[in-house]
C-alpha cells in the first residue's frame, strides 16, 4: 500500500481530476488516494473497505475462498474503485490498472464523495476510517483480555445481529427509546414550544372545541400514571422503550450488560456496518451520480489529453452500464441514465407546474422552455433532499422502464423464473419484454423491506428482563433452522432470555433451552399502539 504521491503519473492525474471537479464547483471533502496490489485489494474488501480489522474467521473464510477463485480464474481481481467516504475520504486504486482506468476511478470517486457529503441521509462524518482503526486496536486489546475462545464466540454472536441495524429507520434508537437525556431535551423543547405559543394569539374557545376531553379526570389520571411509570422505569434502568426499535444492534451496543471488552466489539461492529443502510437506500442515485461526474471529468481529461484511451474507456463504461432487468437492477446503468434524463427535464423546463398542468399532448411532447435555473443546481438539490425511493417515485415512468430495458429479460432467465406466456408483451430471438407498468411499484417495494425481514425489539422486560423481538409479518416465513442459533447468539450478548414472535409462533431461548410455542401474534400496528399506551405489546397465554 503506497500513497499516490509515490507515483508521479497518477499524482498528476489526481491533480487534473480535482482541478476539473473544482471547475465544476463540486463540494468535496479531503480525498486521499492510495495504491494497492491485488492481494491488498481483496483483503480491503473483506474488511469493509477499512485498512485494518480485528481477527475473525469470516474474513479469513472469504479471503481463502476469494484467493482460490482468483487463482482458478473464476473471479477477476480487478476491482475498479473502492472508496470509504467521510472526512477525509480514502480511495484505493488497484496498481494493475492502467493510467486511464485510474483516472476514471478517481473521477468516479469524486461523485461518491460529493454524494456522501451532500445527501439527505448525512452519510459523511469526520474521521470515519481513523475511528475504525482506533476501534480495531480496542477490539484487539479486548481479544487479549477475553481470551481467544471467548472472543471468537462473542464475535460470532455479534455476526448474527450485524444485519439488524437500522440507524435511519423510522423506528431507530432515537425515535424508540426514552432516556433521561432525551427526556430532558424534550422538556426543554416543550418549554420552548410553550413560549412560542405564548407569543401567538390563543383562543381558549377553539382549544376547548378541539380537545374537549383533554381535561377530563380519567384522561388526566391515565396520563399521570403513564408519566409515573415512565419515570420509574427510567430511574431504574436508565432508558425506556416507547416504540418498537428496529436498530437492534444499536440497542444492544447501548444497553446490553456487556463488559468493556465486549462493548468494544459491538462498537466496532456498529461502526463498520452502520453505513450499509445509507448505501442500500441511495445506491441508484449514488452510483448514477458517480458515473455522471466520471463521464464529465473524463471527457475533460480526454479533451486536454491528460490521458489517452477514449475508445477503451467507452468500452469499459458501456460494460459497467449494461442494462439489466429491474430485479437485477444495475445501479450504474439506471442511476446514470436517470440523472441524464433528469438533466434534460430541467433543461427543457419540464419540472414545472405549467408542464404538469398542460393538457395538450403535442405541446407537452415539444415542450422546451428556458428557465433561469441551472439544471445541475436542481440535480444537486435532489441529492440533498431525497433517497432512491423518492428519486424513483418522482422520476421513473413506464416509458423510462421501457427505454432503460428494465422490463427486458433474457429468455433463458425467463424460463428459470417460470414466466408465463400471458406475462410476455413481446419477444425476439433473445429476449422477452414484460408489462412496464407495475415495475415501478415493484422497485419501490424493495425500499420497504430491503429484502430483509423486519425485526423489532418490542419489549425489554419480557419474561423477567428478557428481550422480545417481533417479526413484522409480510407473508414470508423466516428460515426456521437459523432461529435457534440466532436467538442463542443474541442471548449471549443480552445475557438474558430472548424471544422471537413471528407469525403464529413464539420462540424462546432462555437459560440454554429453546422452546417453540403457538401464539396469536398481534399485528405490528397493534403492537405500536399498545406500546404508546404504555401497555405490554404481547402477553403469552
Amino acid at each position: 500500500m503506497r500513497n499516490i504521491k509515490t507515483d508521479p503519473e497518477l499524482k498528476f492525474l489526481e491533480s487534473r481530476v480535482l482541478h476539473h471537479a473544482d471547475i465544476f464547483k463540486r463540494t468535496l471533502p479531503e480525498m486521499r488516494f492510495f495504491i494497492l496490489d491485488q492481494q491488498e485489494f481483496s483483503s480491503l474488501l473483506m474488511k469493509n473497505v477499512y485498512p485494518v480489522s480485528p481477527v475473525n474467521i469470516w474474513e479469513g473464510k472469504e479471503m481463502v475462498n476469494t484467493r482460490h477463485r482468483i487463482e482458478t480464474g473464476q473471479e477477476s481481481s480487478l476491482y475498479y474503485e473502492v472508496v470509504q467516504t467521510g472526512r477525509p475520504s480514502y480511495a484505493y486504486l488497484n496498481e494493475t490498472n492502467n493510467a486511464m482506468t485510474q483516472a476514471s476511478v478517481m473521477a468516479h470517486v469524486v461523485g461518491h464523495c460529493e454524494f456522501s457529503e451532500l445527501n439527505v441521509m448525512h452519510d459523511s462524518n469526520n474521521d470515519r476510517t481513523e475511528w475504525v482503526i482506533y476501534l480495531t486496536g480496542k477490539v484487539n486489546m479486548a481479544r487479549n483480555q477475553m481470551g481467544h475462545m471467548n472472543y471468537q464466540t462473542f464475535w460470532n454472536a455479534c455476526e448474527s445481529v450485524k444485519s439488524l441495524i437500522s440507524p435511519n429507520s423510522q423506528f431507530n434508537l432515537e425515535n424508540s427509546i426514552d432516556t433521561e437525556t432525551s427526556m430532558a431535551k424534550a422538556e426543554t423543547k416543550s418549554e420552548e414550544d410553550k413560549s412560542l405559543l405564548d407569543s401567538i394569539p390563543f383562543s381558549s374557545t377553539l382549544e376547548n372545541i378541539l380537545h374537549k376531553n383533554k381535561k377530563s379526570k380519567e384522561m388526566l389520571l391515565k396520563r399521570e400514571q403513564l408519566r409515573q411509570a415512565k419515570s420509574e422505569t427510567l430511574s431504574r434502568r436508565g432508558y425506556k422503550l416507547r416504540a418498537p426499535c428496529q436498530d437492534i444492534l444499536g440497542f444492544l451496543r447501548e444497553y446490553s450488560p456487556t463488559s468493556q471488552a465486549e462493548k468494544h466489539i459491538l462498537e466496532y461492529m456498529y461502526a463498520v456496518n452502520c453505513t450499509q443502510d445509507f448505501v442500500v437506500r441511495t445506491q441508484i442515485m449514488n452510483e448514477g451520480w458517480a458515473m455522471y461526474w466520471e463521464k464529465k471529468i473524463m471527457t475533460e481529461l480526454f479533451k486536454e489529453k491528460a490521458c489517452t484511451g477514449i475508445v477503451e474507456y467507452s468500452k469499459v463504461a458501456s460494460g459497467v452500464m449494461y442494462p439489466r432487468p429491474y430485479f437485477q437492477r444495475n445501479p450504474y446503468h439506471l442511476g446514470y441514465y436517470m440523472w441524464e434524463h433528469i438533466e434534460e427535464l430541467f433543461k427543457d423546463g419540464k419540472v414545472s407546474l405549467d408542464y404538469v398542468e398542460e393538457i395538450d399532448q403535442h405541446k407537452k411532447n415539444t415542450w422546451k422552455k428556458d428557465s433561469n435555473i441551472e439544471p445541475i443546481d436542481c440535480m444537486t438539490h435532489l441529492v440533498q433532499s431525497c433517497t432512491d425511493y423518492e428519486f424513483l417515485r418522482r422520476f421513473l415512468t413506464a416509458e423510462l422502464v421501457e427505454k432503460f430495458h428494465l422490463n427486458r429479460i433474457d429468455k433463458r432467465m425467463a424460463q428459470q423464473l417460470g414466466l408465463k406466456a400471458d406475462d410476455v408483451v413481446r419477444e425476439d430471438r433473445r429476449y422477452v419484454w414484460i408489462d412496464p407498468e407495475p415495475i415501478k411499484g415493484e422497485m419501490l417495494n424493495f425500499f420497504v423491506h430491503l429484502h430483509r425481514p423486519r425485526i423489532y425489539i418490542v419489549d425489554v422486560d419480557y419474561m423477567d428482563g428478557g428481550l422480545l423481538l417481533f417479526h413484522r409479518d409480510d407473508g414470508r416465513p423466516l428460515r426456521k433452522d437459523w432461529i435457534k442459533p440466532t436467538l442463542k447468539n443474541i442471548n449471549l450478548i443480552w445475557k438474558g432470555s430472548v424471544c422471537l414472535l413471528t407469525k403464529e409462533t413464539l420462540y424462546t431461548y432462555t437459560a440454554g433451552s429453546f422452546n417453540e410455542l403457538r401464539a396469536a401474534a398481534p399485528t405490528f400496528d397493534v403492537v405500536v399502539e399498545r406500546m404508546q399506551n404504555g401497555e405490554k405489546p404481547f402477553r403469552a397465554k
Binding site: 500500500m1 494497492l36 481477527v55 474474513e59 479471503m63 484467493r67 482460490h68 433452522d481 437459523w482 440466532t486
Partner: protein
C-alpha cells in the same frame, strides 16, 4: 453517525502498511481444522489418495459453506439441520472451495497415520549458509538509511538545527548518527535424499494394478518431498523384465513387456548407481520395489544378497511391495523369513486400494506389521 470526537487517533496513518488478512485466514484455518481432519480420515478410510491432486501442489478442499446464523427468509425448514454451530456459525447450502497447502495436508496425514518424521542423516556435512541483516552497528558497509535518518533527526532536533517553528530545516548527518546493517551468518543443515523406484514391467501393469502402484508412488514422492524439501530429493525410476533400465518418471507407468522376470538385476543396477553417483556420507537413500512377486529360480536369494551386502549398509529405508499378488507370488514371502522385524527393509502386499494406507504405514511406520 459516529464521530471520532476527542479520541486520540493514530497519526502517520498508512505510511508503509500492508493490508492483509493473514491473521483472520489463520483463525479460519484453525476453525476448519476439524473438517480437514475429516477429509484426511476419509482419505485414510477409503484409501483414496487421489485427493492429493498434483504432486507437491496445494489441494483443493470443497466443503459446506459456513455462515453466521441470522434472521433471514426462505429455505431450511428442516428443523435442527443447519445452524447448529455452538459458537455461532451455521451451515449454509452453498459450497466453498479453497486451497490447502501441501505441507499442511502432509502434516495432517502424518498426524493421522502416526508416521514418524524420517531420520535425516548427513547433517553437518552440508550446510546451507545465508546471511541475515538483523543487527545494526556504527560501522559497516551497508548504510541503513532509515535508521540513520531517524537518529540524525533526533540529534538535529536536540541541537536545535532542525526546528520548523523557527523555519530551521537544516539536517546535518554526523558520523555518529550513521547506522549500518551488519550481516549475521546463519547456518542451517541441508539434507539431501535420493529415492529409487523400481518396477517390474513384465507383469500386466494396467487397470487397478497400475492405479495402486501410482498411488503408492505418489504418496512416497510427496512424503519424501515434505520431509526433505522439494528441491532436496531426487526421484529416479528403474524398470526391469529380464533386463534393467533407468526410465523417465512418465515412462515408469507406461512401459510394459511380456517376458521373463529377473528382479535382482534392478536391485543390482540401483546399488551400482547409488555407489557410483552419490556420496553415501551425505546422502539419504530410499528404494522401493513394486512388482507381482512372481519370480523364478533363485531370484529372491540374489535380491536378499544384494540387500544385505550393498543396500542395507547405506539405505535409510527399502520397501518391497507386491501389487495384486497371485497365488504363485513368492518374493515377499521368501524375504519375510529374513526381514520380518527389520527396521530398514519393509515388506508388504497390496491387493486393493483399501490396503494402500496399511502399506504406507508399513513402509514408513516405526515398526513393521505382519
Amino acid at each position: 453517525m459516529i464521530d471520532a470526537g476527542k479520541n486520540k487517533l493514530p497519526t502517520g496513518l498508512f505510511a508503509e502498511d500492508k493490508i492483509n488478512s493473514n491473521e483472520s485466514e489463520g483463525a479460519f484455518n484453525e476453525f476448519i481444522d476439524d473438517k480437514l481432519k475429516d477429509l484426511v480420515e476419509n482419505i485414510i478410510n477409503e484409501g483414496d489418495l487421489t485427493s492429493f491432486g498434483e504432486r507437491d501442489s496445494d489441494i483443493i478442499v470443497e466443503t459446506d459453506d459456513i455462515n453466521p446464523p441470522r434472521f433471514s427468509y426462505g429455505g431450511g425448514e428442516g428443523g435442527e439441520g443447519g445452524g447448529k454451530g455452538s459458537d455461532g456459525p451455521g451451515e449454509g447450502s452453498e459450497r466453498i472451495r479453497f486451497s490447502l497447502p501441501f505441507d499442511r495436508l502432509m502434516e495432517l496425514m502424518a498426524e493421522k497415520l502416526r508416521l514418524p518424521n524420517l531420520i535425516k542423516e548427513g547433517q553437518g556435512k552440508i550446510k546451507e549458509v545465508s546471511y541475515e541483516f538483523k543487527t545494526f552497528g556504527t560501522a559497516g558497509v551497508i548504510l541503513d538509511k532509515k535508521r540513520t535518518f531517524r537518529r540524525a533527526l533526533k540529534s538535529n532536533i536536540g541541537t536545535g538545527d532542525y526546528n520548523p517553528d523557527e523555519d530551521k530545516y537544516d539536517l546535518l548527518i554526523r558520523r555518529k548518527d550513521r547506522r549500518y546493517k551488519l550481516p549475521e551468518r546463519v547456518e542451517k543443515p541441508k539434507f539431501k535424499a535420493v529415492c529409487f523406484y523400481m518396477g517390474d514391467i513384465s507383469y500386466s501393469t494396467y487397470g487397478e494394478r497400475l492405479e495402486l502402484e501410482k498411488r503408492i508412488v505418489g504418496f512416497i514422492h510427496n512424503w519424501l518431498n515434505y520431509n526433505y524439501g522439494k528441491h532436496n530429493v531426487e526421484h529416479r525410476f528403474f524398470v526391469h523384465d529380464s533386463e534393467a533400465h533407468e526410465v523417465m518418471e512418465d515412462d515408469f507407468f507406461k512401459v510394459t513387456n511380456a517376458g521373463g522376470t529377473r528382479a535382482s538385476i534392478v536391485f543390482d543396477l540401483v546399488s551400482r548407481v547409488a555407489f557410483n553417483e552419490y556420496d553415501p556420507e551425505t546422502t539419504n537413500f530410499y528404494g522401493f520395489y513394486f512388482g507381482d512377486g512372481e519370480l523364478f529360480s533363485n531370484d529372491a536369494e540374489e535380491i536378499g544378497e544384494i540387500l544385505n551386502k550393498d543396500l542395507f549398509p547405506i539405505f535409510n529405508r527399502i520397501g518391497i511391495v507386491e501389487v495384486k499378488p497371485s497365488s504363485i507370488s513368492n518374493l515377499v514371502e521368501r524375504l519375510r523369513e529374513r526381514y520380518a522385524d527389520d527396521n530398514v527393509i519393509r515388506l508388504d502386499r497390496v491387493d486393493n486400494k483399501k490396503e494402500i494406507i496399511k502399506a504406507i504405514k508399513n513402509l514408513f511406520g516405526e515398526k513393521q506389521y505382519a
